[in-house]
Subunit: 345 residues, 2 copies
Amino acid sequence: MGSPVSIRDVATRAKVSVGTVSNVLNRPEVVAPATRDRVMGAIEELGFVRNDAARQLRSGTPRAIGLVVLDVGNPFFTDVARGVEDTASEAGHAVILCNSDGSSQRESRHVELLAEQRVHGVLITPVDTDLAAVRRLRDRGMSVVLLDHPTADPGLCAVAVDDRAGGEQAVTHLLAEGYERIVMVNGPSHVHQARQRHEGAVDAVRKSGRDSGVLEELKVPALNVVSGQRAAEQLLARSVRPDAVFCANDLLALGLLQVLVRAGVRVPEDIAIVGYDDIDFAAAAAVPLTSVRQPRQLIGRTAAELVIAETMTPGEHEHQHVLFAPELVVRESSRRVQRSRRRPR
Amino acid sequence: MGSPVSIRDVATRAKVSVGTVSNVLNRPEVVAPATRDRVMGAIEELGFVRNDAARQLRSGTPRAIGLVVLDVGNPFFTDVARGVEDTASEAGHAVILCNSDGSSQRESRHVELLAEQRVHGVLITPVDTDLAAVRRLRDRGMSVVLLDHPTADPGLCAVAVDDRAGGEQAVTHLLAEGYERIVMVNGPSHVHQARQRHEGAVDAVRKSGRDSGVLEELKVPALNVVSGQRAAEQLLARSVRPDAVFCANDLLALGLLQVLVRAGVRVPEDIAIVGYDDIDFAAAAAVPLTSVRQPRQLIGRTAAELVIAETMTPGEHEHQHVLFAPELVVRESSRRVQRSRRRPR
DNA sequence: GGCCTGCGTTAAATCGTTTCACCCCCGACC
DNA sequence: GGTCGGGGGTGAAACGATTTAACGCAGGCC
């Protein structure tokens, strides 16, 4: 019935010592087939389940990794989480998912909890750029991988995507398609992704030899759907509208697109749109969205692999800064060609 | 430096016994203020962090709860997860998030892991209706709460939303608006939510006194965006199209809406659409989507509270089956009134 | 002055595993 | 025939906290 069936109960049941049971569990090859079967039988009959707490206490090897994300509501992060989860569970690790929701208070509470759990390592998208919480973790001997947050600190692993290159790709594409009044709807500049993507956009203009006036930055308070809607309203109110908009992420782009379409603006004929992240909803929008794809699951997988590798070979581990390349996915929202639209019937 | 600073190190440092340190941590009121401060100081200086494994081993009280969801990619589940996470972290519990992805193999692997972790309890959206995995957990003395999966089993807690009522609301609304050729795009019938929502839809037709022919069921293999797109293509190919579509969830509705809009079908003038779940993207769609709202975060919070309560008062706990009422949110995609649409300029 | 009472503290037992040193038996080898 | 070696086991220590019984000490009471 109750769970309190310990390795000792199994031992008595199988008429062996606890050491032998432990061996069956961890090094089956060293125990004679006959006894092994007996022990396995006892385990089965009693419904024995290892107690991981005791295990970890003795062996010192935890079986969980922590993941702290900025916003579980953003599909970008859920995809990263999925990648982490896949890799971790293949390695037999549990994933403890925490949502900091952009609050450093919540972040530190979660980090504290993870420290007490003595997790294998922590994957974190830090709220603050000062990385105070991250350093605290590392000082306690925990391995940490920064997610989507580049750093120069050689004492940390990091997995990120080249945001500057992504911004450049997006705007280069728009320029090549012939758009000449581009607005970048961007998040607050304390968000490093926002800053980087904008710098890339500026690079693109410079490299193309155009006047820097072809690109304008419109800042919004957050990288979400609502902010995108607000931005669209602002643009609609202008006497001279842009012919293309580059949004710092897809949530912004979706909000923007919705309001524009409802106002009768044709996309891309009147205004082209490019998003960022290429979340699944981007392809399913009213007008399929051109977007800069980040290898989301791969980011998660890689980060998980790094943190697992680091704790496998403590000491000799080389901290790595992995930087993936983004990839522009061109869809209908930014094609210059006039397309004949099907009409009902 | 390294993390291996134990309660014993703190004790020597503060010149007290380990018992006293433990008291400072757990029952601060019984220890004299002077010593308490001394101990706290030592903890601070040494950067001591409790080892939860040892704690749990001795006290038998775990500090984590498990959450197994069907699909982390679905915003519905991430919102539920957020609710769980909020409540759990207020109670000082960690949440171990697992994604079964609809595979019972993955599900049982995760359940096994959670059992070894001796989690406080498990919140699970079961893959199979036979609940084999769930029963195994309970037999091991673990408290379980079923999420979004009604059950008659009095030995389990369950938190769900009345899907039948939701289906009825949706179709009653469509009928009231005057739609008379309704197609319900539904998931496979082994998914109980799909079945229930359809039954509710049938109820609505019956109660309205209409002919049962006004409602047709179109089954698709999965409750996701792609299936919605496929369904739309099928409907477009028909010579006689429905005047309204009720989708078993919002992902289907978004896929459907996208394809219809691109084909030039006007929503709701030509075809009205009602979705289910009211995920945030529903309100931000090309045409804001009427949808049946489920209290997603509340589901998560309630489930977490139940599982925590159950383990606080073992034995005397009354298993509860909480059933929330869904709420229809009417937006533009299903309004009968002809609306004048704004045109640019 | 002995004794009881409380308070603060200590020492030891305990939780369920893993690990390691050691034991026993039996065949092989010199 | 004694010793070596090794396969197959055993048993106890250790992990780091919690918990509880016991203990020392100061003050108050009779």
